[in-house]
Homo-oligomer: 176 residues x 4
Amino acid sequence: MTVRMICDAANISSGTFYHYFENKTDLIIELFSLIDDYFEENVLERLSDEDELVNVIRFCSGFSEFVMQTGVAKSKLINSMFPVYSKGGHHEERGRILYRELNAIISRGQEKGQIITEYAAEQLVDMILVMVRGYCFDWARREGSYDLVKYTEEMIALFVRGLRPCSAYDLKMQKD
Amino acid sequence: MTVRMICDAANISSGTFYHYFENKTDLIIELFSLIDDYFEENVLERLSDEDELVNVIRFCSGFSEFVMQTGVAKSKLINSMFPVYSKGGHHEERGRILYRELNAIISRGQEKGQIITEYAAEQLVDMILVMVRGYCFDWARREGSYDLVKYTEEMIALFVRGLRPCSAYDLKMQKD
Amino acid sequence: MTVRMICDAANISSGTFYHYFENKTDLIIELFSLIDDYFEENVLERLSDEDELVNVIRFCSGFSEFVMQTGVAKSKLINSMFPVYSKGGHHEERGRILYRELNAIISRGQEKGQIITEYAAEQLVDMILVMVRGYCFDWARREGSYDLVKYTEEMIALFVRGLRPCSAYDLKMQKD
Amino acid sequence: MTVRMICDAANISSGTFYHYFENKTDLIIELFSLIDDYFEENVLERLSDEDELVNVIRFCSGFSEFVMQTGVAKSKLINSMFPVYSKGGHHEERGRILYRELNAIISRGQEKGQIITEYAAEQLVDMILVMVRGYCFDWARREGSYDLVKYTEEMIALFVRGLRPCSAYDLKMQKD
DNA sequence: GATGAATGAGTGTTCATTCAT
DNA sequence: CATGAATGAACACTCATTCAT
């Protein structure tokens, strides 16, 4: 994805591009912040299920929904640049909005006894984000040839099963 | 990773590089095939546990082991080029060796009743490969700043829990 | 010095700039004419010493005074564009005001016997202007790090010594 | 003077340019060092006159000779970039060769009583270099339309007259 | 008059690739 | 077989200039 390609796609001149963005990296940072907006406007409200593992799945769906809407081209652009540390980690800070939200879900889940406590919430958050981003990366690489949301949901649904603590009975049964 | 950087690292001239590889992509295809060699020499023998889910974990460990040994630089190179479709999907064919092996493990697991059958083996293989590659991608992006094998194992171990079928008792207990 | 920088400094839009100047070169031509105004208002009156070599020094001081007041930024702008031949040498015509004034001083000096006649007045004018402009150029290059007027005066004072004809006595002495 | 122009003039591709120079500035630094070579090979041997003021003139002639040989295009290139401070002032260090040589001449002249001592040698060196460079700059600006060596010599010859100390008699005569 | 978004040719620089030696 | 000088299209980015509002 060159600046020229972006400009051609947007039907603007490269001069105009640089009128709005200081450099190519700036565009990507801008793109990053869009996901926060998307979450605030569309996803956050869906994350209030009693079962926090359901919320985890919805969170991941929201993420992949956004990526699909954003499209293959922009996703590749983001992939090519990630991680971006410029501007004092500004986007990272913003990125933390996503991070904090997922962390909150998992922490609540652990408090409620819905999620295993073998791993710290931070560790689980990292895992899930890597997995979800991994799927997004694959999807863009394959030119968006499959339904990202569906596949992400299936994968996360399975992963989430492993996060559910076994009941005392359950453990007993397994031993037998 | 420019061709010149690769050549400098290998102490050869760029002329020599093009004597052995038709182009840069060819090198990457070559790199791809290395993982098959690695699996054949080091990993395949470890995949004979009675519990096929253990084999899944070992398979993934083998993959990330290889990536760690390969190093950040080469990993980035591969990431930057993947997927490579040239030469009639030649490398993809080779890639199938990996694919087939994991498929075999999961199919056996399903036959033995160790792995759920809600999803076809192919689907599970795809999921796992995407997840593992996702971690490799993240690791390279972060300049190899963590122990890829350890993190991959933890993630896969959790995922694999979700693949274990619940016993009839188990389901009954959960209902109660 | 870009047009945008000039406009920012002047608190106008670049549109406004092009409302008043046909192009960037035009601004510089305008800048050139400022020196004539400066000479007419501030320097000419000082050029009436009986000793024309004193007037030469005052002329050069006036020139460097103007450059210092104009500032490093504008000086660089002028240097970067000089000589400007557009508009039928319009600015050169104006430049001639300066030229003619110095020429007049030197011609008078030669008539009065205060200045050697080995070189035509035109030649001496050219030399002095090149020297003074050379100092201005150096000063701007070095970001205005020294007192341009002082250094120019010292240099010209020395040069002017060489323009004073030796008396008959003087020559005689030197021979002895 | 763009890199492309330089390459066209030299009948090489811009890729080749960057094979030999790390960047445009490097070429200019290279150009700078050429003057030292020129002085060492052609000028230094001429600087052994008994009269140090003669040596000053020869020094300046050597400088302008070099510039004329270098040509208008390269001179403009150098002018456009001077002063260059990169690479730890490497070229400045080299530049000092020139500086030191002229300084030595003038210091000797002052010791021998051939040059006035009102100004420190360093000051006179600075003046002369600014003047000579000023002429070179003017010459390049005017597309090399005159004989730089001749004009520089005339100018310096006059300036040098002012550096000759007046005898006691001389001063007395002037008062009368 | 004044604005500033838009333009696009041009700049320094990179890099996969070629080829004479 | 090996070299590395040479290539030139492509890149991110700049900037004088235009023009609809």
